[in-house]
Each structure stands twice: as structure tokens, then as C-alpha cells.
Amino acid sequence: MMTYLEDLKNELKKRNVSQDEIDDIIRDHEEMISEALREDLTEEEIPQRFGDPRALAQELSSNTTSHDADEESDDSQDDFKLFKSFTPSEDEQKVFISMVFQDVTVRASNDSDYHVNYQGPGDIDEYSISYRHGELKIESPKFKGLLFKQNKKDSISFIIEVPKGTELVEFKHKTVSGDVDFRDVNAKNTTFSITSGDLNIKNTKVDKLVVNTVSGDVNVKELSARVVETSQVSGDMNMSKVIITELIHAGSVSGDFAFSDAHVELAEFNMVNGDVEGKEFYPKMISFKSVSGDLDIKNNERTDIKMQKTNTLSGKININ
């Protein structure tokens, strides 16, 4: 057992696996090997059952490095090039983005400027990017012909950074199939119009959030808002760690809504066959209309939820 573990440790070290991870992996193997020895295996059979330490170390290190690599390409700016920076004027700050299939991340910058970063084989000069009177506008070129004939390979992804600590007065994002990642940015009026792209919103404070999607999914985490209006056709919406001080109005045809850890003053749902599921979902009042969609709320804490204007044809309502 000791030689096997020693070999494994050395192989992992060779592959630059961090000490913490090595300790953890060795601990797990001590546990599993001692279990195996107790059961049926002899010392000699260990490598047979547990495999060649070198192969195992290789697998584990490619696991971790490939994992890291994924994160980096998502997250870091390494592959992104800075196109332009803008210093904000004294005006009220607004951002308007209009895309077709380009993926866009909007986040807070590390300094007090706007930064437009891009990546991909497309031609950045075809894009119209301007900053005037407090308005940052980014528009993709108008594509001629049918959308599905466009080659996504010629696309560009953007990371747009908003000056740190700035509250935008308005943020609007329009896209067809591009994904949108919006985080750590505060904006008074925030509007997303997306056809099939997915939307992720994280850690943001807004006054009014409007989301319209057809088939894209929406994920919201750590949001504080006064009003949320959302309308979906078949996309789903997930909201967690959300505080809405006035109203959420949510409509969907076949998409589902899931709320967890959400505090809402008034929640209005207008569903066809989509379901609403809440876990630790605390609206003070609910209005629920559906054809066959269900409403299901499971909370640990019992609070009074006032039902108003409930109307469903065949959906089930369950609140506990």
C-alpha cells in the first residue's frame, strides 16, 4: 500500500498538481485501499485493481488542468483583446447593445473606464461601437439574407466592462441567438430581448428588470430589484437569492419558473402549461393564472401567503 501511494504521490507531483489536491487524493486512496485490503485484495493485487499510478495521475491531472483551462477561457481576458476604452462623461450613463448571434459578457471593470474587449475571427471594424453623451452603443453589422445561413464561425464574442461602482441609468441588450452574461453591474432600467440565447444574471441591483425571451433559458442569481417583468415562450427561468420589493410579473407559455431563496412583495404569474416551483419562496401575495400549469411552493418557514385572483383550469396549487 505504501509503495503504491508513494508512486502515486510522485507522479502527481511531476504533473504539478497542487499540494492540497495531492493530500486529498492520497487520503481518498488510503481509505479505498485499506478497504480493499480488508475485503479481498492482497498487497500485490492493488495495482491491478487500482490501476497504474502513472495512468491514474495522468488522468487526474488532465482532469484538473482541463478544468482550469475551461474556466480560464471563460473567465480570463487572456484570449480577449482590448478594442477600445472610454472614459465616462458627466452625463447619465447608458449602455445599448444590439447583437445577432454574438455572445456577450457584461461586467464591472477594474477601474473607472468602459472597456470593450473582443475575441474571435470576425472583423471588429464591421461593428459600430461608439460612446457619446454618456451612451455606449455597440451594434453588430446588419446581416443580409437569412440568419441561419450566417456563419457563426465568423463571429466575435465580447466582454464589455462598465466603470466600477457606476450605476447605469439604462441598459438594453437585444440579441437573437447570442448568450448573455450580466454580472456585478447595477443599472436602473435593465432590459433584455433575446430570442434563443441564454441569459445569466448575477449579483446585480436594478430598479426595473425586463426580460423577454422566446426559447432561451434565464438564470438569475443574487438580484435585488423593485420590479421584474418577464415573459417567456418555452424557455425556463431560474431565480435564486432574489429580493423583489414590489412586483414580479411573469408570463410563460410552456417554460417553467423556479424560485429558491426568494422574497417578493407581489408575484403575478400568467402561465399556459408552464409550472411554477418555489423552494424557500416567500411572496407576500400571489396571483396565479394558468391553463394546466401547476404552482408548488415548499417552504421551511410557514408564512401567510395571500392568494388573489387565482384561476387555473387543470393546474394544481400546492403551498405549504
Binding site: M32, E35, R38, R49, G51, E59, L60, T64, H67
Partner: protein
């Protein structure tokens, strides 16, 4: 389908065990190797990756004999992932069976027909 075919299947097997109940490393390995030809060095990296992707949580339980056992527990995220893999697998394997059973399930019939065809070609 998952590009790394076998790995994807074993991933689904691991998820299927843990959707039923929490379990520890060696137990998972023994259960799987009882039915399929697979060794620890395939399973452990999968457990580790699924844990770092937040599909599993872990906790330690003192055991009477030797080191405490690390139990793996499926998270909600893991469950959703399990459902999507499961769906993908069912659709895929359903299609595969459809194709391989096109000539019926009786191997004798299939061999006989094939033999006849070869004979015809030789003529």
C-alpha cells in the same frame, strides 16, 4: 452523446448509484465492477470531477475499521445533470437497438440469411 464514450457511460452509472443513496469510494467501485469491466483509475477521477463540478458534495463518516469514509452525496445540480445524461442515453441506446435489431433478434435467422447472400454472390 458524450465524446468519450466509455467515460460518459461510467459517469452515468456513478450518477445512477448516487441518485439512490449516498455512498463511499470503495463501495461505488465494487458495485460497478460487479457488473461492468472497470477499474478504480477510471472511477475515481470521475468522482473527483463530478465533485469539483458541484454535482456531488462529500462528508466524512467515522468507520469502526480504519480511516473515516468519504461519502458522496448528489446535489440538486447533480440530479439535473443526471436527468439530462439519462435522457441522452435512453434516446441514443434506443436508436442503437432499433438499428441492430432491424433484422430481428434471432441470430440464427440473421446468420442463415447472410450465408445465403454470400452463396448468391459467389455464383
Amino acid at each position: 452523446m458524450n465524446p468519450q464514450f466509455k467515460r460518459g457511460i461510467i459517469e452515468l452509472c456513478v450518477l445512477s448509484l448516487l441518485v439512490e443513496k449516498d455512498s463511499y469510494g470503495y463501495d461505488i467501485i465494487s458495485q460497478l465492477s460487479e457488473h461492468i469491466d472497470v477499474s478504480e483509475n477510471t472511477i475515481y477521477p470521475i468522482l473527483r470531477r463530478l465533485t469539483s463540478d458541484d454535482y456531488f458534495k462529500t462528508y466524512l463518516v467515522e468507520s469502526n475499521e480504519g480511516a473515516p469514509r468519504k461519502y458522496y452525496q448528489m446535489t440538486e445540480k447533480g440530479f439535473i445533470y443526471y436527468l439530462s445524461l439519462r435522457e441522452e442515453w435512453d434516446a441514443f441506446i434506443g436508436g442503437v437497438y432499433h438499428i441492430i435489431n432491424q433484422g430481428g433478434k434471432k441470430n440464427d435467422d440473421i446468420f442463415r440469411r447472410f450465408k445465403e447472400r454470400i452463396k448468391e454472390e459467389k455464383r
